[in-house]
């Protein structure tokens, strides 16, 4: 399942191959393992230098676990993650720590992800201390620069997180992520806890920083409108697997997976005229448990196009686009939608 063909002009920064993360379920007095929650169950994709890859899906689909497993914040059950051609999964601890400088994370909840006992200066300087970058004076200068970079006043340095609004806190989180000058950032639902008018501020900031610093993002979100806005390519996840992956406009204008189609048709559009004319695909039921996923194609119990083969065979994640413009989809009947 190589995706390099045809994309030769773009440099691969991060390569994920057959990544799995299973959480064991223990029961009984002896805590015997009786099963596993297969949160991420074999995902493969590349992220190119300087792009934003949007990862979307509903709650419980494994998108956040994917992000954390890529950064080795969770130990993968199986699979490889190549960052700059080095496999992070079998890397030694000290080397992994060195690599971590280059990969940072922005978290969803700006209230829970900042230590309330540290000043803003302390929070943003922490990664610098961990990686022994600079002396105290240099760190303070760096923190001031970072605060200005994310649109905060440098004199905020002595204040505490509770003195800030949600949007400002998320800016602090962004400043912390940028402290070690990383090239790759996983943003895990960075705006979903914010009010609408503040969301645009933070998204614009992320966009500007990407251009200014040449960053590469994995942008994890459930808000499909925002993902279309910010991403270059989009991957759609369902129950631990990526079901569709292509260029942003390709995914949104010509979705080939029935789940993507349903997901897109469910997004409310802020325009009453369009809403009045829309035909919705209303999915029956809810997402099954990842501890006991359906046989064959995981989407088949909710899929209006499902046939016998969908019940039996797990569909291959294959390219139905061209070499130059790949469009990957995992559906037996995807040709129907070409």
């Amino acid at each position: 399942m190589s995706q390099e063909n045809g994309q030769g002009d773009k440099e691969v920064l991060l390569s994920v191959r057959n990544l799995k993360k299973h959480f064991p379920i223990h029961r009984g007095v002896f805590r015997r393992q009786v099963g596993a929650v297969r949160a991420v169950d074999g995902v493969s994709f590349d992220i190119y230098q300087g792009e934003t890859l949007g990862l979307v899906g509903e709650s419980g689909c494994g998108k956040s676990t994917t992000g954390r497993t890529i950064l080795q914040l969770l130990e993968p059950t199986e699979g490889e993650v190549y960052f700059n051609d080095k496999n992070l999964v079998d890397m030694g601890k000290s080397e992994l720590r060195r690599q971590r400088r280059n990969m940072q994370m922005i978290f969803q909840d700006p209230y829970a992800s900042l230590n309330p006992r540290l000043t803003v200066g302390g929070i943003v300087a922490e990664p610098l201390e961990v990686h022994s970058i600079g002396n105290n004076k240099e760190r303070r200068e760096r923190v001031k620069d970072l605060l200005q970079l994310v649109g905060l006043n440098a004199y905020f340095i002595k204040r505490y997180p509770h003195e800030f609004s949600g949007g400002q806190r998320q800016r602090i989180g962004v400043a912390r992520a940028l402290a070690t000058n990383p090239s790759f950032i996983v943003a895990d639902e960075p705006i979903s806890a914010l009010d609408v008018s503040i969301q645009a501020q933070v998204v614009n900031l992320l966009d500007d920083l990407k251009a200014e610093l040449g960053l590469t993002y994995l942008f994890i979100a459930h808000d499909l409108s925002m993902v279309r806005y910010i991403s270059d390519r989009v991957a759609v996840m369902y129950l631990g697997k990526i079901v569709e992956l292509s260029d942003r406009d390709e995914v949104y204008d010509h979705p080939l997976h029935p789940y993507t189609q349903a997901l897109l048709s469910a997004i409310p559009i802020p325009d009453p005229k369009k809403e009045a004319q829309r035909q919705r695909i209303i999915l029956e039921g809810t997402v099954p448990s990842p501890a006991n996923p359906p046989s064959g194609c995981r989407f088949h119990p909710r899929c209006q196009y499902a046939t016998e083969i969908c019940n039996e065979v797990d569909p291959e994640f294959r390219n139905l686009g061209t070499g130059a413009e790949p469009h990957f989809v995992a559906c037996h009947h995807a040709e129907k939608f070409l």
Binding site: S197, A200, N204, P272, K273, E275
Partner: protein, 336 residues
């Protein structure tokens, strides 16, 4: 004919140790029978408090409804006694909330919780109430309704719990259903299911709906009328078509332009409303949106604008609504 609900000049304040919070500052709207109204605003805009006030659900102290009238079916709800009010709530006006898990009692069966209101409000006996509850569950699409009455809330998924809440709130045949962000905690495909369900039920049962939300997308396809709240004031209200087509208040305009368009190839930079919503511990003798407004003029700082009719089915609390309607947007590409 008098409207079903006529809210006039509602004022609610909270007396806290940190000062008096002016949560709702004289808002007025009407709702006809079977009509649907969307109340849109961000956190702290007063959207939930305004509705809690008319149901007398504001915790007192610290909160107090300090002014206005709420005429519902010819009576002023604010003048009713506690026991009279209890007969209105849960029977003539019912509510569904954001988080169905916290609004259902986890230690009682669904059947017990659903029949309670029916027995209390409609004087049904046990078997009548169970029958009605099963009918309602069936109506909201819970399969095997009769058997599931003996299940507990945790045995249902989030979407199903919200369906149960809807079944419960419609079982007494209310004239008005108030939905306070009922889909915010749900995934987008489940949200679509619930919105579709409420629309169908409204057609079938004919109740009026107040739908409170922060999501301009959800209400667009859901309601006929809209009220946009900011700092406890209605800053714009009118027909949902007119407002979305041409907002006459800068705040509404900014909100709409800060949303990315999922159905458009051309992605223009999002407009962002700079700054933060104001502290509500002050009296506004100026326009509360003035500090964030790109259309601001001296007059905005001198006098808080009232709602003014724009000639269309729309009213705006902006001195410069004509400029906002006609001029190209000033929410533009600002550098961060």
């Amino acid at each position: 004919m008098a409207p079903l609900l006529d809210v006039r000049n509602l004022v609610t304040r909270f007396y806290t140790e940190q000062g008096v919070v002016n949560a709702v500052n004289g808002i007025s709207y009407t709702l006809e029978e079977g009509e649907s109204l969307g109340i849109v605003g961000e956190s702290g805009s007063g959207k939930s408090v305004s509705v809690m006030s008319l149901l007398k659900l504001i915790p007192t102290p610290p909160g107090r409804v300090e002014g206005g009238e709420v005429i519902f079916n010819g009576r002023d709800l604010l003048k009713l006694s506690r026991s009279e009010m209890r007969r209105v709530r849960g029977r003539e006006i019912t509510m569904i909330f954001q988080d169905p898990m916290t609004s259902l009692n986890p230690v009682l069966t669904i059947g017990r919780q659903m029949t309670e209101g029916l027995k209390l409000h409609l004087g049904m006996n046990d078997s009548q109430a169970r029958k009605r509850a099963a009918e309602m569950l069936d109506l909201v699409g819970i399969p095997g309704a009769e058997d599931r009455l003996s299940d507990y809330p945790h045995q249902f998924s989030g979407g199903q719990r919200q369906r149960i809440m809807i079944a419960m709130s419609l079982s007494t045949n209310p004239a008005l259903l108030i939905a306070d962000e009922p889909t915010t905690a749900l995934d987008v495909t489940i949200q679509a299911q619930i919105v579709e369900l409420v629309k169908q039920l409204q057609e079938k049962l004919g109740m009026a709906i107040i739908w409170i939300t922060h999501d301009l997308g959800v209400v667009a396809g859901m309601v006929e009328k809209l009220a946009v709240l900011y700092a406890g004031y209605i800053v714009e209200q009118g027909s949902v078509f007119d407002i979305y087509e041409q907002p006459a208040h800068p705040y509404t305009l900014g909100l709409l332009q800060s949303l990315p368009k999922v159905d458009a190839r051309e992605q223009t930079r999002l407009a962002s409303i700079e700054g933060l919503p104001p502290d509500l511990r002050q009296e506004f003798d100026y326009c509360p949106f003035a500090p964030r407004c790109p259309y601001v003029i001296d007059k905005c700082w001198e006098e808080n604008p009232p709602l003014m009719a724009t000639g269309r089915d729309q009213a705006s609390a902006c001195w410069r609504w004509e400029t906002v309607l006609t001029e190209k947007s000033r929410f533009g590409v600002e550098e961060v």
